[in-house]
């Protein structure tokens, strides 16, 4: 489970300062999460920016400051899904997992690993949005079924079905690869 940090900033300091503090603590982590839910870096950063802008607008509604981090997590997950639903998918990052300089075939073993990783990533991006969300929350954030259900606002049974179908789809894609 990723550390989501704590929020000890008194509201008295003002929301701009408090939100800035949260940004410095959580931005990088959230960009990483968003990058798994959308298909390009720019869109991932946009999703995170919108999440923080939403937090800024709703700051006074957060009765518990710790709810800010939960809000950001949900906003990024839901924002990523919205991006995919609206078809704003980029193709630039679909074929490669790592920067080109790190993916040079310096060794045959590395090349094979990169190819497998690329195939896996392509298969992930081909999943329906809900399956992709469940897979990311389960295998990246290490969330339990109950936590995923809470994050997505769905039943545990639904989480189980999406996870199962997602894994099956990934397995089929990898086995079909030459």
């Amino acid at each position: 489970m990723h550390d989501v940090g704590t929020v000890d900033e008194p509201r008295w300091r003002g929301r701009a300062e408090a939100v800035s503090s949260l940004f410095r603590t959580h931005h990088r982590r959230l960009v990483g999460l968003a990058s798994l839910l959308v298909d390009d870096q720019g869109t991932a950063e946009d999703v995170v920016q919108e999440a923080f802008a939403g937090l800024y607008r709703r700051w006074w509604q957060l009765h518990d400051p710790h709810a800010a981090v939960a809000y950001l997590n949900r906003a990024v997950v839901n924002g990523g899904r919205d991006q995919l639903r609206h078809g704003r998918r980029a193709t630039a990052s679909l074929l490669r997992m790592t920067p080109r300089s790190e993916a040079l075939p310096s060794a045959e073993h590395d090349a094979v690993e990169h190819e497998e990783a690329d195939r896996m990533w392509q298969a992930i991006t081909a999943l329906p949005p809900r399956q992709r969300q469940v897979i990311v929350l389960r295998y990246y954030l290490d969330q339990s079924e109950a936590e995923i259900a809470d994050t997505l606002g769905v039943s545990r049974g639904s989480v189980k079905r999406h996870a199962s179908r997602g894994l099956a789809a990934l397995a089929r894609c990898l086995e079909a690869a030459p």
């Binding site: 003002g14 802008a53 607008r57 006074w60 397995a171």
Partner: protein, 254 residues
């Protein structure tokens, strides 16, 4: 490939991809972008708060300490010999506005002015305990459309004086006077730079949203944004009531 093997590879790929994205982003640059965008948005919204009454919000605020300050600061602009000059009209208008004297405010307004908005804002200013501290009024320029008078002022608001916060400075009213009447008004309210937003507006907004969320929904015209007051009768009662409670709460030792 077994399920556990698939899960292991999947976990590795997800972490690699996320790590690459994290390494490519620039948090400081992104934060600057966020702050610029939110500040621009807040300025636009708060401008609506100010313009809603033409100047009203701050103007009404100001006036209680007006008289004593005039003597020391306005010698160059307001003297008995200048009665009925544009500067005197502007001063009289702001004095009426700060004293919540609706009839006198209306008497200064040119035909066609949005009197209802002025009266509404006066009522809100009174409900939230605005105090307007005039520094001085100075004739700025004259043209066929009127004489422009600028009036610098400090203010207390939202009962900040009772909490020892403020006065909040660097504000300027710009009034255009023609034929002895106010034909245009604009308020410069430096609510961000002078500390009013951070010391009063935002803390009170946070408090009322938490302590009385149902009231807050009635008190702010743009709820849940909380950048613009609502001026219905119910809202005014809630502003008055909740500000008094907020002050009492803040005064209590923590």
């Amino acid at each position: 490939m077994t399920t556990s093997d698939l899960e292991r590879r999947l976990t590795t790929v997800l972490h690699q991809h996320a790590e690459n994205a994290m390494n490519r982003t620039h948090t400081d640059e992104q934060l600057q972008t966020l702050l610029v965008d939110t500040e621009r948005d807040a300025r636009r919204r708060r401008r609506g708060w100010i313009a809603g009454g033409l100047v009203a919000a701050a103007a009404a605020i100001v006036l209680i300490a007006w008289g004593p300050d005039l003597g020391s600061n306005q010698a160059e602009t307001v003297t008995p010999a200048q009665v009925d000059t544009p500067t005197e009209v502007a001063t009289g208008f702001l004095d009426a506005y700060a004293s919540f004297d609706s009839d006198r405010v209306v008497s200064y307004l040119a035909e066609g002015s949005s009197r209802d908005e002025w009266l509404r804002d006066i009522r809100w200013n009174e409900a939230v305990g605005f105090r307007f501290l005039l520094d001085r009024c100075t004739k700025e320029s004259s043209s066929p459309t009127g004489t422009v008078v600028r009036c610098a002022y400090d203010f207390y608001a939202l009962r900040s004086d009772e909490l020892g916060r403020g006065p909040f400075s660097d504000n300027v009213f710009t009034l255009t006077v023609q034929d002895g009447k106010i034909v245009a008004a604009d308020q410069g309210l430096e609510f961000m730079s002078n500390g009013f937003s951070a010391q009063m507006w935002e803390p009170f907004a946070a408090w009322v949203a938490e302590a009385h969320p149902d009231d807050a929904a009635e008190m702010y015209a743009d709820w849940p944004e909380q950048t613009m007051e609502a001026t219905s009768d119910t809202s005014l009662e809630l502003w008055d009531q909740n500000l008094r409670e907020y002050v009492e709460t803040e005064k209590q030792p923590s």
